[in-house]
Symmetry: C2
Subunit: 423 residues, 2 copies
């Protein structure tokens, strides 16, 4: 592993309210970890290779805490439906195609290639229920050098026949088969347990997944309190659960020992919020998806003020864009409309907070990731904004703010993950 120094304008969060901006500084990487940011390079680092990104902006790698790889094929399509109809009309038919490995290869190559070119260095990814296609996706991801967690999806009820595992036992067996195949196969790509959501997972399946989790020490990702119809359905399905999240927690699949991401949390109420907080559940805030599927806007201000674990998700294909820079802008914009139209006690999310969520907030699910504070894993993205012309002087912070509204993959010049250059 190489040690080196990057020179450029460096921006990173120290905490949710503090965005550090250093105009033309030095960022030191040793053994895959940040050794800190310096205005003047200390003597002891002067023998390291120096890579000059002057005029460019260096930020920590971004984390996509929630994305469905097989849905990338239909991003930006069929957006005039709500969640449950959208699943039946668009999502399930598309996901069923991934039993065909040739189709899966064609589709996943497109997703993985675009993910590689993006500003994302870490991602938590839903595959489909198909073991072989999930292995193929993980093979492709491994080659990119990005750090990801990938889940073979579990669903054994309330799903169309063409996309439903035949029993809880079959679903559990397939999961064990998959986990054993991938447990030691990869450096960058790890398995994550992925019950789709309560409506499609029987109690028996959830019980088995809980056992699997304990045996293999797996993290978990799922969906929570996204849509009104879904919430009402869970209430019907789980009359003994105090709230939606409690239906996971009854099987010990809701944080605590088990590192857990719950996507959306748009309509979580106090008891659910408290439980998430107690259990350290990570919230994946997915503003574009929650907009496209008319779900609403999550109370991000509440979650921020309570210092809960939270990051951003593209939630492709509920969201049309893979970009977590765009997700930062969406987070701010949606919080403004929520403040104006629904609850003016919850003030809008600031630029600094949105940047924190897309870097440190989500990165924390992977450990010390998403900042350049000393000892953080060295994930870095070099932004080149020269194609976005402007007639006046701009500060580095202004240039960074512009990036979240205007950047696309053309602005992503270089990317490093754990000290390795991806491009």
């Amino acid at each position: 592993m190489k040690n080196f120094v990057l020179k450029g304008s460096i921006c990173y969060s120290k905490d949710k309210n503090t965005l550090e901006v250093m105009d033309e500084g030095y960022l030191v990487c040793m053994d895959g970890k940040s050794q800190g940011v310096y205005k003047v390079l200390p003597e002891k680092f002067r023998d390291l290779e120096l890579i000059d990104y002057s005029e460019k902006i260096i930020i920590p790698g971004l984390t996509d805490l929630h994305v469905h790889a097989p849905q990338y094929a239909f991003r930006g399509l069929g957006m005039d439906l709500e969640l449950l109809d959208w699943l039946n009309t668009n999502t399930f038919p598309e996901e069923s195609k991934y039993k065909d490995l040739e189709y899966a290869r064609r589709a996943y190559e497109i997703y993985v290639n675009d993910l590689k070119k993006s500003a994302t260095t870490r991602a938590c990814i839903f595959a489909t229920l198909h073991v072989d296609a999930t292995l193929l996706l993980m093979d492709e991801l491994e080659k990119t050098g990005l750090k990801t967690m990938v889940g073979k999806v579990n669903m054994d009820r309330n799903s169309p026949e063409y996309l439903c595992e035949s029993s809880a036992q079959d679903s559990a067996d397939a999961t064990i088969d998959w986990v054993e195949k991938v447990a030691v196969k990869y450096v960058n790509t790890q398995p994550i347990l992925t019950p789709r959501f309560i409506p499609t997972c029987s109690d028996e399946l959830m019980k088995k997944l809980s056992e699997i989790q304990k045996e293999y020490h797996l993290p978990l990702q799922s969906h929570l309190s996204e849509n009104q119809g879904e919430i009402a359905w869970v209430k019907e399905l789980c009359p003994d659960s105090a709230f939606y999240g409690d239906a996971y927690d009854q099987f010990d699949l809701f944080g605590g020992e088990c590192k857990t991401i719950m996507a959306h949390c748009v309509s979580s109420e106090e008891d659910e919020i408290s439980r998430m907080q107690e259990n350290g559940v990570f919230i994946a805030h997915c503003p574009q998806s929650n907009t496209n599927l008319s779900s609403g806007v999550a109370p991000v201000r509440t979650y921020l003020d309570r210092d809960m674990n939270m990051g951003l998700g593209s939630d492709v294909a509920g969201g049309a864009s893979l970009s977590i820079l765009r997700a930062m802008a969406d987070t701010i914009q949606c919080s403004k409309l929520r403040w104006r139209m629904l609850d003016n006690t919850l003030s809008p999310v600031t630029f600094e907070e949105a940047f924190y969520l897309g870097t440190m907030g989500g990165g924390a699910f992977f450990g010390k990731v998403g900042s350049f504070e000393k000892s953080y894993e060295f994930d870095a993205v070099v932004l080149d904004d020269t194609n976005l012309l402007h007639p006046q002087e701009l500060s580095v912070k202004e240039r960074l703010e512009r990036m979240i509204y205007l950047a696309d993959e053309r602005n992503i010049a270089h990317k490093y993950v754990e000290g390795r250059k991806i491009f």
Copy 2:
């Protein structure tokens, strides 16, 4: 003027609910006007030059009904403020720089160049109060071949000293000077009267503008009912007006004889809506700006159901993006959040409706513009979506829907205005 035929997949609105899609058809242009769309090219057109855009999608040119050219310099910056603070902090200081013609040239060249590369063929544009810089902007726009209306801004009160005309008389004199200079100077670029908004225009000025309008037969553009603070201020300033729009109408500057655009109309109530409808006022719906400045979301469903005149505006730099394709997506997305969070009697805007608003809806301000129905002016945009890979077959309509969520200027392959090829 050349006559020709374009071959490709052709999409256009016939009315707000009807999107026509023809897979591989022929679109005929004669004398700068559409001669219609054909699956089989009629005999009489077979001698015309045929330009083959097979595999590409041809749509009508888009209209940006509301944009501030001098604000393009700070798009995507300083978004954490509401309208009145944002004007004082960001907008007025930037606009004051346009008294310096060198600065104006540098800034306007960037805006005009990006506008040229976009899918927009028509635009109604605010300049600043400076006559010389406005002339420079109009010179630059004229060269592009795009059809635009440009306004020297009027503001003689409640504005910072560095950006305020010294009297109503001075503002009127400058306006006449400007109108006389540009009245016969251009083919593509027309003047439009542009009182900034009621708070910055004295009664005396409004009276004079009304006289100027009648003498020179000018259209008019301004702002209406965007933000709560602004609306309250107008109420204070104009105690004799029944509502905000009435403050324009008292000077006969609110539609009727005078072709008028009012941007925003986020919080218009029944009396204002009725008056706009009676007077045929065009609403410029600017969803991204209304989001960024926390203004809210206009009741687009109401305006659509009442068949009011309406199009889309980028409202740069309240909006960060010049793209009217993006404005279509924003229109749909914001209408969903409004429906979910504010008023579930007003159903979300559909893809077909949003496409109509960005083409025919706004185009109507320029005459028969924004469709390929026979005798419409021939504004056309050729979209190339080959960089947006997908593993499955997609219909032309699906490819078009994807474009509004995913396209950027790389997807704008060719553009025609009134039958002339821009690129």
